[in-house]
């Protein structure tokens, strides 16, 4: 007699048929697996972006404050008004400065981690870079406000080592200076760099790790010293990682509205403008137009990076 288990149960039969179907037509399985994430990406992600873009082509009636649902470029024209143009310029300058500083600070750290750190030190590196990301962003920003305040530890320490006048001299620099570090662009910049630095270090380290050792040896073998190898071989090969990191730091700074609100001289940044325009002002079209700016800037940035050959080594 046949054992009972070999009798095909209806459920098992369906499973077998499905297996056969998926095996014969792998496209069906692929479509089933990809449908949920594609729906998410298409509807929630790209869809909302398109809705945003759409809104930016509407305008607001200056008298009634009602959104006029007609296609117009008037809202984009408003971006060129001095008060709005200033916000864009300020934000882009800050994002560029933050990105540059992050890259300069991150490179030695990432280079050490990728080339020299082993075992325990590698763990220390990852922990050191990731640990700040585990605590709340707001807590960190408020902590920095206290650190940078006039009564804070930085001023105290500067006075303690007799560098108080140096700090005052730095703070008296027009535009970037201010009353105290926490109410100046220097403070905003410092906190931005602190908060986004890990996003620069990690992709940079990953790309440096992928540079084969034999390539650095080949460069030395052909007569190049350390600096020449760094400039002609290491940096170009690590460029995709540097670009990836700079996309993070640049776009995160472009969109942030909390740090400049808490630390700085309360001058407007794009994020803050969007926040107040869509909230109290109720000017959704202008908020949308502002929000499109970072996207355009990133596209231009990537196009330039590509033109410069940043992705050739990918």
């Amino acid at each position: 007699m046949m054992p009972a288990s070999s009798q095909p149960t209806p459920a098992r039969e369906i499973a077998e048929r499905l297996t056969a179907l998926f095996w014969k037509r792998p496209g069906i399985l692929l479509a089933l697996l990809l449908a949920p994430p594609l729906l998410w990406l298409g509807v929630v992600y790209v869809g909302s972006l398109i809705a945003l873009l759409w809104q930016s082509f509407y305008s607001i009636d200056p008298f009634s404050g009602v959104v006029v649902r007609e296609f117009t470029l008037k809202t984009y024209g408003e971006l060129l008004l001095p008060q709005n143009y200033d916000i864009i310029l300020r934000t882009v300058t800050m994002a560029a400065a933050v990105t540059l500083a992050s890259a300069v600070l991150a490179f030695p750290i990432a280079f050490y981690a990728a080339r020299f750190a082993k075992g325990r030190w590698k763990a220390v590196f990852y922990l050191g870079v990731m640990l700040p990301l585990w605590s709340s962003y707001l807590v960190k920003v408020y902590a920095w406000k206290l650190i940078l305040a006039k009564e804070g530890i930085v001023t105290w320490a500067a006075n303690g080592i007799g560098a108080g006048s140096l700090l005052d001299a730095v703070l008296s620099i027009p535009v970037i200076g201010g009353n105290s570090l926490s109410t100046s662009f220097i403070g905003t910049f410092t906190v931005f760099v602190y908060v986004w630095l890990p996003y620069m270090i990690l992709p940079m380290q990953a790309s440096l790790e992928r540079v084969p050792k034999s390539m650095l040896e080949a460069s030395a073998d052909l007569g190049a010293g350390g600096l020449r190898t760094l400039w002609s071989v290491t940096l170009p090969l690590a460029l995709p990682g540097i670009i990836a990191g700079s996309i993070f730091t640049f776009s995160l700074t472009l969109g942030d509205y909390i740090i400049p609100q808490i630390i700085g001289n309360s001058a407007n940044f794009i994020g803050m403008a969007v926040y107040s325009l869509q909230g109290t002002a109720g000017n959704i079209p202008l908020a949308a137009a502002f929000a499109v700016i970072p996207i355009l800037i990133m596209l231009v940035y990537l196009a330039i990076a590509r033109r410069l050959g940043a992705f050739d080594a990918l």
């Binding site: 034999s214 040896e217 030395a220 052909l222 007569g223 002609s232 050739d312």
Partner: protein
């Protein structure tokens, strides 16, 4: 004459691992020198000691008579063809080849002209604009060669450069490397685990075993007069006879080596010793016959066309007295 490279009792230990242990070597200028050995025998470490990527833990390496202990890789007049070629993927072929000249500060047009010259030398004229990723394995190998030669090194180091190529291409490149070396007159130091490659290309061969040099000599010396059983076995799979077997086979009580192709098989009743055929391996140009001679296994090789005995058949074995090579040590 001052030797191109001289190892004076050089050791490179990694902790307890003796990668290179008390090696003495002399590489004459203008020679094609092969370092032959299985993986982990220390041959690549020796090459890296010459290029400067490793430093000896004891002993001294002299390059053209000068002690190299304090000279970093970028100041040594030796260049390397790396095993994985290590071409720079972000540069085109011409810039790769011209890299050594760019580092030296040679002007753009001069270094491009020289790069084209080197590319012509390795038969890659007109490939200057391509990226390494657009080349085949053999072409990349040639670019690596051109790049290493552009600085006109006095010694060219090649780290298993043909390992990644298929058989046909490998044989073509062997001929080409040999003729290139003869034309340029540069000292080539070639690391390989392929004994056929070492024997066919080199003027002199050093056989490495466990971080030491087992034997140095011309290919003929290495093959015909192996110094010990390791060399006999590694180079050409010889029959190694311990002293008691050598005595049984008509020699003195010493270790000996007997090449398979030196053994004649006699289906009749003759022969110095008798053996039973236990296995046959067809090699194309020859057939390898494994024989059991009173408990000792021997391999014989008979050329294609000659009569092949059947498995289980009893045959007589004979050889000329001088084919039984006595070895100094085990």
């Amino acid at each position: 004459m001052i030797p191109a490279v001289e190892f004076r009792s050089v050791s490179r230990h990694f902790g307890a691992v003796k990668a290179v242990d008390k090696v003495d070597l002399t590489i004459e200028e203008g020679s094609f020198f092969a370092m032959l050995g299985p993986s982990g025998s220390g041959k690549t470490t020796c090459l890296r000691l010459i290029s400067g990527f490793e430093s000896p833990t004891a002993g001294e390496i002299r390059i053209f008579g000068e002690a190299s202990g304090a000279v970093p890789p970028n100041r040594r007049n030796v260049n390397t063809v790396f095993q994985d070629y290590a071409l720079f993927p972000h540069m085109n072929v011409r810039d790769n080849v011209a890299y050594g000249l760019m580092v030296k500060g040679v002007g753009r047009s001069a270094r491009h002209a020289k790069a084209e010259e080197m590319l012509a030398l390795v038969h890659l004229d007109g490939f200057g604009e391509r990226k390494p990723a657009q080349l085949s394995g053999g072409q990349r190998q040639r670019v690596a060669l051109a790049r290493a030669l552009v600085n006109e090194p006095k010694v060219l180091l090649l780290d298993e450069p043909l390992g990644a190529l298929d058989l046909k291409l490998r044989e073509a490149m062997q001929d080409e490397l040999k003729s290139l070396q003869q034309r340029l007159g540069i000292t080539f130091v070639f690391v390989t685990h392929d004994q056929g490659e070492a024997l066919s290309m080199a003027d002199r061969v050093a056989v490495f075993a466990d971080g030491r040099v087992a034997q140095v000599g011309t290919p003929a010396e290495i093959y015909e007069q192996p110094a010990n059983r390791f060399v006999a076995d590694f180079v050409g799979c010889s029959n190694v006879l311990p002293p008691d077997q050598t005595q049984r086979f008509g020699g003195p009580a010493r270790w000996a080596s007997l090449r398979p192709e030196a053994i004649r098989l006699d289906p009749g009743q003759g022969g110095t010793v008798r053996g039973r055929v236990t296995g046959l391996r067809y090699l194309g140009a020859a057939t390898r016959v494994v024989l059991d001679c009173g408990g000792h296994e021997l391999a014989a090789q008979i050329p294609a066309g000659a009569a092949v005995p059947a498995v289980g058949e009893e045959v007589g074995l004979g050889w000329q007295v001088q084919s039984l090579h006595l070895m100094e040590k085990e």
